[in-house]
């Protein structure tokens, strides 16, 4: 009995230590990426190419999800606000939810599972087939040539995707509430414009998705780069990328939201 409790505590502590260790390893890896990003401007065509793979290919899923999320927000908001007799404010609700929270968070989650996992698998396979060793032997550092362009492509793509997600969401909300439920179009837009603050809502949302972009790209490239060079190794790494990125996004969101609250200081 007592042994069981001790073992239970041990495994909790062990798990916690492993998590801290992984976070540390990813942060160190991020440092290495930054150190090897010196020539990234010279390699900008590579970044563009990776942005195509990571960004453009996530585009459809981001746009469609944005539309659906916006429509659901419109429906839910309309129902709730109607009971207070202020259904014209539904535009405000849709826009603020999307700008502050759902746009950055959901697009980051989608990006992690669509593009992050692909990044991990690609780098992991390059390692398993000795392409990274071959590159080292050709005196080209894989961190600079393979990892850094993918990392920066992820960091640059995510805010753009989040912005598109938000725009699609607002259109979805507009469609459901104004076109289908008969909310006044003028009130929908004017209340939204009056309530959304550029700095506090739009810029903060962008900052969030930039941070998520750094986290997801660092985790995805780290997992690929450190994956055991076998088929199971790479598939395990891909799963870990999705799980750890999702947790990291949600945890960072809590932190960032707390920092961005108005009127705390």
């Amino acid at each position: 009995m007592k042994g069981g409790i001790v073992r239970g505590l041990q495994s909790i502590g062990d798990g916690a230590l492993k998590i801290v260790e992984r976070i540390g390893a990813v942060v160190l890896f991020l440092g290495q990426i930054l150190m090897h990003s010196g020539a990234i401007l010279r390699r900008f065509p590579l970044v563009i190419r990776e942005m195509y793979f990571a960004g453009v290919q996530s585009l459809i899923i981001i746009l469609v999800s944005g539309l659906f999320v916006g429509m659901v927000l419109g429906l839910q908001g309309f129902e709730t606000l109607q009971s207070y007799g202020s259904s014209e404010s539904v535009g405000v609700l849709v826009a603020l939810s999307l700008m502050r929270e759902l746009g950055p968070v959901v697009s980051a989650l989608l990006f992690a599972s669509r593009a992050g996992s692909a990044m991990t698998a690609e780098i992991g396979l390059m390692k398993a087939t000795e392409q990274l060793s071959a590159m080292e032997m050709m005196a080209v550092n894989p961190l600079a040539r393979v990892v850094a362009p993918r990392f920066w492509a992820g960091v640059l793509s995510l805010p753009l995707l989040a912005a598109l997600f938000g725009a699609m969401g607002i259109m979805g909300g507009f469609f459901v509430t104004v076109v289908m439920l008969g909310v006044d179009s003028g009130a929908f837009w004017s209340q939204m414009q009056a309530a959304v603050d550029f700095h506090h809502d739009v810029v903060n949302g962008m900052i969030k998705s930039l941070v998520f972009g750094v986290a997801v790209s660092a985790i995805a490239t780290y997992e690929g780069y450190e994956a055991p060079p076998t088929a199971e190794g790479v598939s395990g790494a891909t799963t870990r990328t999705v799980v750890s990125s999702s947790l990291a996004i949600l945890a960072l969101d809590l932190l960032l939201t707390a920092f961005m609250m108005k009127g705390w200081n």
Partner: protein, 267 residues
């Protein structure tokens, strides 16, 4: 400074089990040296140590007069610009075409114009007989073709030291002869030094200057091709003539056969 690669008392193991246990070998500048040994005896490992991809446990590896164990990363990268390596499984970049694979180092390390790069790349591909596949992706090549492209890539910048890991496997007899002569010509024309890991005894005997035999982590025999052919040592004889019976075991050391198969030995 006549010795380009000097290895002294080199010890290495991946885990507890040692793979190399005190290797001594020397490659003269301009020499073409073969390393032979049974599968799994550590030949690839030895090449990786020469390229600085692995660190010796103890002992020293000197390339071009520089001790690899004491190098910083940037010194190592500077040295590697003068080293070409052919990987055992090709290791072509799967996201680049054949042409871009061969042109890779020229683009990374030189300021050559794109038309120069094109001419040089096509020359390298022509030397391995594959100018016609320049537009294909590595996944569209056969194993032997991929190996030849990798050979063109390894020699793209005319390196001073070329490390070949089994360049002959998977080649038909015609390509085999051509590639063998190409390796010799590259060595002589560029004034390069080459180390060739191979199982193909007959083919490599035709082109190399000197041969080292590795077994059980040490050099067990060495000599010029003529000396090796005439060697009275039984395992050299066995290896050169490909006989199954002899002092070299075909099986990797393991538990006794009876244990693995669960046989009872009745006496």
């Amino acid at each position: 400074m006549n010795d380009y690669v000097v290895i002294r008392d080199l010890n290495f193991g991946y885990s507890e089990r040692p793979v190399l246990k005190g290797i001594n070998l020397t490659v003269h500048k301009g020499g073409l040296v073969a390393i032979m040994g049974l599968s799994g005896c550590g030949k690839t490992t030895l090449l990786r140590l020469m390229g600085g991809q692995l660190q010796a446990r103890h002992g020293s590896v000197c390339v071009a007069g520089q001790e690899l164990n004491h190098m910083t990363e940037s010194q190592l990268y500077a040295l590697r610009r003068r080293v070409g390596m052919l990987f055992q499984f090709g290791a072509l970049f799967t996201d680049l075409s054949v042409f871009d694979n061969v042109a890779f180092q020229m683009r990374e390390h030189t300021d050559l114009s794109e038309s120069m790069i094109r001419d040089l790349t096509l020359m390298k591909l022509n030397a391995v007989g594959l100018r016609g596949v320049q537009g294909l992706m590595p996944a569209e090549l056969s194993g032997g073709m991929a190996r030849r492209v990798a050979l063109a890539r390894a020699t793209a910048l005319d390196p001073d030291l070329i490390l070949y890991d089994e360049p002959f496997t998977g080649l038909d007899p015609i390509s085999l002869g051509v590639i063998g002569r190409l390796i010799r010509e590259l060595n002589d024309a560029l004034g390069a030094t080459s180390v060739l890991v191979t199982h193909d005894v007959q083919e490599s005997m035709k082109i190399v200057d000197y041969i080292y035999f590795v077994s059980d982590g040490v050099i067990v025999a060495q000599g010029t091709p003529d000396e090796i052919r005439a060697s009275p040592l039984p395992f050299v004889h066995q290896f050169v003539w490909g006989e199954a019976d002899g002092p070299l075991p075909f099986h990797y050391p393991g538990v006794a056969l009876v244990e693995d198969f669960g046989l009872m030995v009745s006496s």
